[in-house]
């Protein structure tokens, strides 16, 4: 594959990471804790879409290689993720009277419950959506880009969702309130914002985007009960890179981490080509920059960013 090919893959993977990281960042800034159940919220979205799609089928026509039924399933998946998150918030998080560390630990328990329930119902094996896999788009293959129409659909849908969120945050009443709350919750409350309601909408939006990310991840790869949890640390890396609590930072961080993740094979080609001396160092670098360590590279970047700029690229409160 060429550089362009890797970049195209990176763009698709980044779209998924961005969808996941926005929600995590939103919840981090408004509910004020690191939500470890976020990855499994993605899994919920994916599996709900799987069931829905299996039940309603294709529904005739198709857009970008995806039958209409898939988009219905996508919406149902988003809704299910949002509903589950709101119910969890109401039943579990809200009655708790503990600090953000306690909430963090609780969210791990919730992540396990989500994942266990999915695993009990669907088993731990990999499944996929019942959609015919497509061949790469012919006209792009000469450039070394091997993306399918499905990949294009993922990117387009992610762009639509992200632009929609941007409009919501900048031009609507709810968006202004959310930004005010992320900035200073106490000030927001005394200025008459119903913070509880805003918080609820934050959960709906964050979990909904996560659900969408989960559905696309299932389309991009496969579905498995661990899919979301496996991606969680990459998403954390993206959020931290962008600056925790900043939605636009999360977008940028998600884009970068997704790109770096998919560009790993390219980096390893580069390392192989470079005249590194002595030989053991070259071998070490080659083995470290291999595809098996794509996720590990993301974590190391995350730690490095935390050390140099604990507030991330976008810094604190830039929402």
């Amino acid at each position: 594959m060429t550089v362009l090919g890797y970049l195209a893959n990176g763009l698709v993977f980044s779209s998924i990471i961005v969808l996941g990281s926005i929600g995590l960042s939103l919840v981090y800034s408004i509910a004020d804790f690191a939500n470890f159940a976020h990855g499994d919220t993605m899994t919920i979205g994916a599996y709900t879409a799987l069931v829905t799609f299996g039940a309603i089928g294709g529904l005739g026509g198709a857009v970008l290689g995806l039958p209409f039924g898939f988009f219905v399933a996508l919406v149902v998946g988003i809704a299910a993720a949002a509903v589950v998150a709101v119910v969890t918030e109401r039943l579990i998080y809200e009655p708790l009277e503990i600090d953000s560390i306690g909430l963090l630990i609780t969210s791990i328990g919730i992540a396990f419950v989500y994942r266990a329930l999915i695993q009990i119902r669907f088993g731990s094996d990999f499944t996929r959506f019942d959609i015919q896999p497509l061949r790469p788009i012919e006209s792009l293959v000469p450039f070394g880009i091997r993306v399918t129409l499905h990949d294009v659909a993922i990117v387009v849908s992610a762009v639509i969702l992200v632009v929609g969120l941007h409009v919501l945050l900048q031009y609507t009443d709810l968006g202004r309130k959310m930004r005010a709350m992320a900035d200073n919750p106490d000030l927001a409350r005394v200025s008459g914002i119903r913070t509880k309601r805003v918080k609820l909408w934050t959960w709906v939006i964050g979990a909904g985007l996560a659900g969408a990310g989960g559905v696309f991840l299932g389309l991009f790869n496969q579905l498995s009960p661990r899919m979301g949890f496996n991606l969680l640390l990459v998403i954390f890396a993206a959020v931290i890179l962008g600056g925790i609590g900043s939605v636009y930072g999360a977008m940028a961080g998600g884009f970068l981490i997704g790109m770096i993740n998919q560009l790993t094979p390219f980096f390893s080609d580069v390392v192989e080509a470079l005249p590194i001396w002595p030989g053991w160092l070259a071998r070490l670098l080659e083995s470290l920059v291999s595809i098996e360590y794509a996720n590990a590279i993301a974590f190391v970047i995350m730690v490095a960013v935390l050390l140099v700029r604990p507030n991330g690229i976008a810094g604190e409160g830039a929402t």
Binding site: L96, I101, I105, A116, S124, E292, Y293, F299
Partner: protein
């Protein structure tokens, strides 16, 4: 010790949850004893469970030294456990891709040394971070360790794992031949269901002896450390790090010491596991091990070593109990059931008893002021105490 002299007073001195835990524990022990005597529970398997409980207790002691004492959120328990297990396995196993065939004592030393290096490697960059960042970063670094173990086949044998590990006492003068030398016994307590004690049983009892030695030593070191001035600094850091810094303490250095201490104990649990299970694989570094340890600590009560012990037993009950549940009642795969139980326990504890079932009592008070033997050290000028707060003496 007055407590030993007067067991009744000791019982009345217990808090309500302590009494509750004591009752349940005694009941559970009686149940196990009955199962043992009637042959429902194989004695070898029972000792295996005891060993496993001891191992989880060790893991939670280690985590307790980090989270309970100092408030460090370490989500890389599995990495240290795995390093301990692999360190010892790679030194001692016949099937080891490197060295191999060495004495388990060498394995123990190497495992602890590698764990120390890893603790410094993870601790140096992450211990300066805010609490929740530390959680995320340590989970990420543990994942890196797992990926390395999974992929560096030349070092760790990759996904196949390491086999051919000897027992811990292999090569020791008397203990190495002890299980074979012991005669088989046949006990018949309940008529018709005899209980056999064979070589495997004696082997298992050696393992229990080992874990008791490890856990006992750890317990006393930790208790000593917790009561020392050093332990007091740690507790101050946990409740208010800025205060500790204002008092002129180098909090980073104290946190690092606590992190290293805890990590070494986790590696010790890994070493024991290696020689109990006789096989290690990359699956042992799965994050679920980390969360088992966390459940044990938060359930038992952060900062409390008794609680950690109790938590370890509960974890084994969950881990092995789901297996039975699966055999007897529900046709469900035990893995998700276990996950579900762990999740529910975490949520329930945080919801109803965030301080844990057996939280440390009076831990911020000078110990000699409350312990039974501390009477002479009481200040003589406690007039108020003698007049108003007298306890009927």
């Amino acid at each position: 010790m007055s407590r030993l002299d007067d067991a009744k007073a000791a019982v009345t001195d217990l808090s309500r949850p302590e009494r509750w835990v004591l009752t349940v524990s005694v009941g559970f022990a009686l149940f196990l004893l009955a199962a043992l005597l009637t042959g429902g529970l194989g004695p070898t398997y029972f000792l295996f469970l005891v060993g496993l409980a001891g191992m989880y207790a060790l893991l939670s002691f280690g985590l307790n030294a980090q989270w309970g004492y100092t408030g460090l959120i370490n989500f890389s328990v599995a990495a240290f456990f795995g390093i301990g297990a692999y360190g010892s396995a790679l030194m001692t196993a016949d099937g080891s891709p490197i060295a191999g065939g060495l004495s388990p004592l060498v394995g123990l030393a190497v495992a602890l040394f590698v764990a120390l290096l890893l603790a410094l490697l993870i601790g140096i960059p992450t211990l300066r971070l805010r609490a929740d960042y530390l959680a995320i970063a340590s989970l990420g670094l543990a994942e890196v360790v797992r990926l390395v173990v999974l992929n560096e086949r030349w070092l760790t044998n990759g996904s196949a794992g390491v086999r051919g590990i000897p027992g811990f006492f292999a090569g020791w003068p008397v203990l190495s031949t002890f299980p074979e030398a012991m005669p088989g016994l046949r006990l018949e307590v309940v008529p018709g269901s005899p209980v056999f004690l064979e070589t495997a049983f004696w082997q298992a009892s050696l393992n229990v002896l080992l874990v008791l030695a490890f856990a006992g030593a750890t317990y006393f070191v930790l208790r000593r450390a917790h009561r020392s001035p050093w332990g007091r600094v740690l507790r101050t850091i946990r409740s208010d790090e800025d205060l500790a810094r204002a008092l002129g303490k180098n909090t980073y250095s104290f946190k690092m010491q606590s992190f290293v201490l805890g990590s070494l104990i986790m590696a010790l649990a890994g070493v024991f596991y290696t020689h109990l299970n006789l096989y290690v694989g990359p699956g042992d570094l799965d994050p679920i091990t980390t969360f088992y340890a966390w459940v044990a600590v938060i359930l038992g009560g952060s900062g409390s070593n008794r609680g950690a012990l109790f938590g370890g037993i509960v974890i084994v009950a969950i881990r092995e109990g789901t297996r039975f549940l699966n055999d007897v009642a529900l046709p469900v795969d035990p893995a998700p059931l276990r996950l579900l139980l762990i999740g529910v326990v975490i949520i329930a504890v945080m919801r109803y008893r965030p301080q844990g079932v057996l939280p440390p009592q009076r831990e911020l008070i000078w110990p000699s002021a409350v312990d039974g033997g501390g009477r002479p050290e009481r200040p003589d000028s406690g007039v108020r105490e003698r007049k108003g707060g007298g306890d009927g003496e």
